[in-house]
Symmetry: C2
Subunit: 340 residues, 2 copies
DNA sequence: CGGCAGTATGTAAGCGCTTGCATTTTCAAT
DNA sequence: ATTGAAAATGCAAGCGCTTACATACTGCCG
């Protein structure tokens, strides 16, 4: 009815301004190539027509999208939020746009998302951790898409990574808490099968056990999904079963907060009846009562560096060296000496 | 060095399989049009080449992406997470992919994202609330992109919306808590200027004040950003100022949790010294101690319905009627009668 | 005043895919 | 065998943009 039957194209703008499409294109991408008067005519045509360049068409023409994709395991909690935020801010500085999707901690879903992002022309990809099928790495390599892993660091992995040493971080935390005298300890972890971070954290806890005169086998580990409710349930099972622990290490803050809720539901006091620790130091950790003893991870720094590194990989075709960041233990109210 | 210098294209596959590109394309999009033997040859060529169709090229050819975009104010907390999750699950059922981006509660950022999503060929858009520049709506209309608003419901808005009545929800909550006898009440709200949800919640609280024999002007409102720390600071200012309230209504759960942290920092007990309420009923609300009295919002239902509606708008070019959902007050430990 | 930079603009060839239409193949019925 | 309808495949245009190259204008120098 009204104006145009379809959204305006470069061609429409060109016609309206009485110039060629090339001129309009230049106006958009490199204005100084165009004389002032024509530029004005073109600009006003663009404005009155409400023209937005078609991204796909531009992509086809230049084979670059200035877009990077990130696939995170979940958006449901804040674990990746802060880091991702910093990642995207830094990308923005470099003129890139971020596309995010989540895999729900499932390998096939992740693979699907990777393909979707590649098909959409992502210039580079950020993945979490490095545990995944070799075939996926092969695919990515064939597609010439640079990939960077974050939230984990492993100099020997197939792809460069920016992150911290989950194993030694968990070891440090465990050692410190064991120092208070705990001997009956359990751990609530995420499923470790395809999750290097979960696996490393368990290992770290085990190592700490041994270094503190306990047996690694005495660490009873139960694996659940990263979810507050599952954390609460697992905790309750743990505490109502035989050989009740005095210390429950949790794979991350979300599980730990779940455990704390579980404790409340059982009428147990934290830390008097049982000590609980988390991992990540997300906002949640400081909001619960008592506040959570956890491992503080440099989320923002990690996101920022990841963006820098990835952009570098994209633009200079370098392979990127990866970088290990420091994490540190934060002692708060959720741990205490065990009851005698 | 290795295989191909560049990622394989349809053409490469066609050549490898000894057929035309048309056949390969049909193999991908409508396999039953192709005879079994050729299909096998094509499929194996695709596999050995590691071919992924180029999304942009397909988009150009068919002018449809089966992608919808959603722009939410923030990913930093869980406010939109659950609803968005349901939204994307439902979209998936209908064969659509979701692209998410966040505006950081800033109008220009949102506009930028809208354009980016449109440029990327989103078939439809989900926005939060309906408060935005008319020019943006005009633009969207010219681009022929269906838009749906969520988290708010207003039958008279420029675009169809799926959500609840923020005003009456807040009125119900406030009325219920005022019934306990509070007379000195304050509210910590998000900035209401370009946020209809915040504005309606304030209005709802005011209406409840009047209906309960208080003056709407007596509701002291302080506006901050949706952020735990800001909530804590605002709360502390409120409580250390003159005319200290016995009830602090918060615009959402995040602010309320911030307020609770503020109370802890001041050494005030909730709800004995002061009652606090939230809005949204995100996970956080049940994790803090005491648990938060708040308004429960049907996040998942809203997300699901929004997806259905939007798909319908896209596929049938209907205008969509919108739908109002019910919310309800959840009384928990964070409120009590005021001290006498 | 011819000619030559230099600047501004236009022309047209793709980028990788889909799809209407034309062409070839297949195969059952004569 | 012959034929024709149906099934399978190929051809080629075109989706909206960029960009190398060609062309058309400026002045300005000799």
């Amino acid at each position: 009815m009204s104006d145009h039957p379809a959204p305006p194209t470069l061609d429409d703008v060109a016609r309206a301004a009485g110039v060629s499409t090339a001129t309009v294109s230049r106006c958009l991408n490199d204005p100084k190539m165009v004389s002032a008067p024509t530029r004005e005519r073109v600009d006003s045509a663009i404005k009155t027509l409400g023209y937005t360049p078609n991204f796909a068409a531009r992509f086809m023409a230049v084979q670059r999208t200035f877009t990077v994709g990130a696939i995170i395991p979940t958006m449901e909690n804040a674990i990746f939020a802060r880091g991702l935020q910093a990642f995207q801010e830094e990308l923005h500085h470099h003129g890139y746009t971020l596309l995010v999707s989540s895999s729900a901690y499932q390998a096939e879903a992740e693979e699907e998302q990777v393909r979707a992002l590649v098909a959409r022309g992502a210039d580079g990809l950020l993945l979490i951790g490095y545990d995944r099928d070799q075939a996926l790495y092969d695919y990515l390599q064939r597609q010439r898409v640079p990939v960077l892993a974050a939230w984990s660091f492993d100099p020997d992995a197939a792809i460069p990574s920016i992150g911290f040493d989950n194993r030694s971080a968990m070891r440090a935390l465990t050692t410190q808490v064991l120092g208070m005298g705990h001997t009956r300890v359990a751990m609530i972890s995420a499923h470790s099968a395809e999750n290097d971070r979960a696996r490393m954290r368990i290992e770290g806890a085990r190592i700490a056990m041994e270094q503190n005169g306990l047996s690694a086998d005495d660490l009873y580990v139960v694996e659940v999904s990263y979810d507050i409710n599952e954390g609460a349930e697992a905790f309750k099972t743990l505490m109502t079963g035989p050989n009740r622990p005095s210390l429950v290490l949790c794979g991350n803050d979300v599980l730990a907060v779940g455990a704390m809720r579980g404790a409340a539901e059982l009428g147990l006091s934290v830390p008097d009846d049982v000590s609980i620790t988390g991992f990540d130091d997300i906002e949640l950790a400081q909001v619960v009562t008592p506040a959570l003893t956890t491992v503080h991870v440099p989320h923002r720094q990690m996101g920022r560096l990841a963006a820098q590194q990835l952009v570098d990989m994209i633009e200079n075709k370098t392979d990127g060296a990866g970088k290990e960041l420091e994490s540190h233990v934060v002692m708060r109210g959720s741990v205490a000496e065990p009851r005698s």
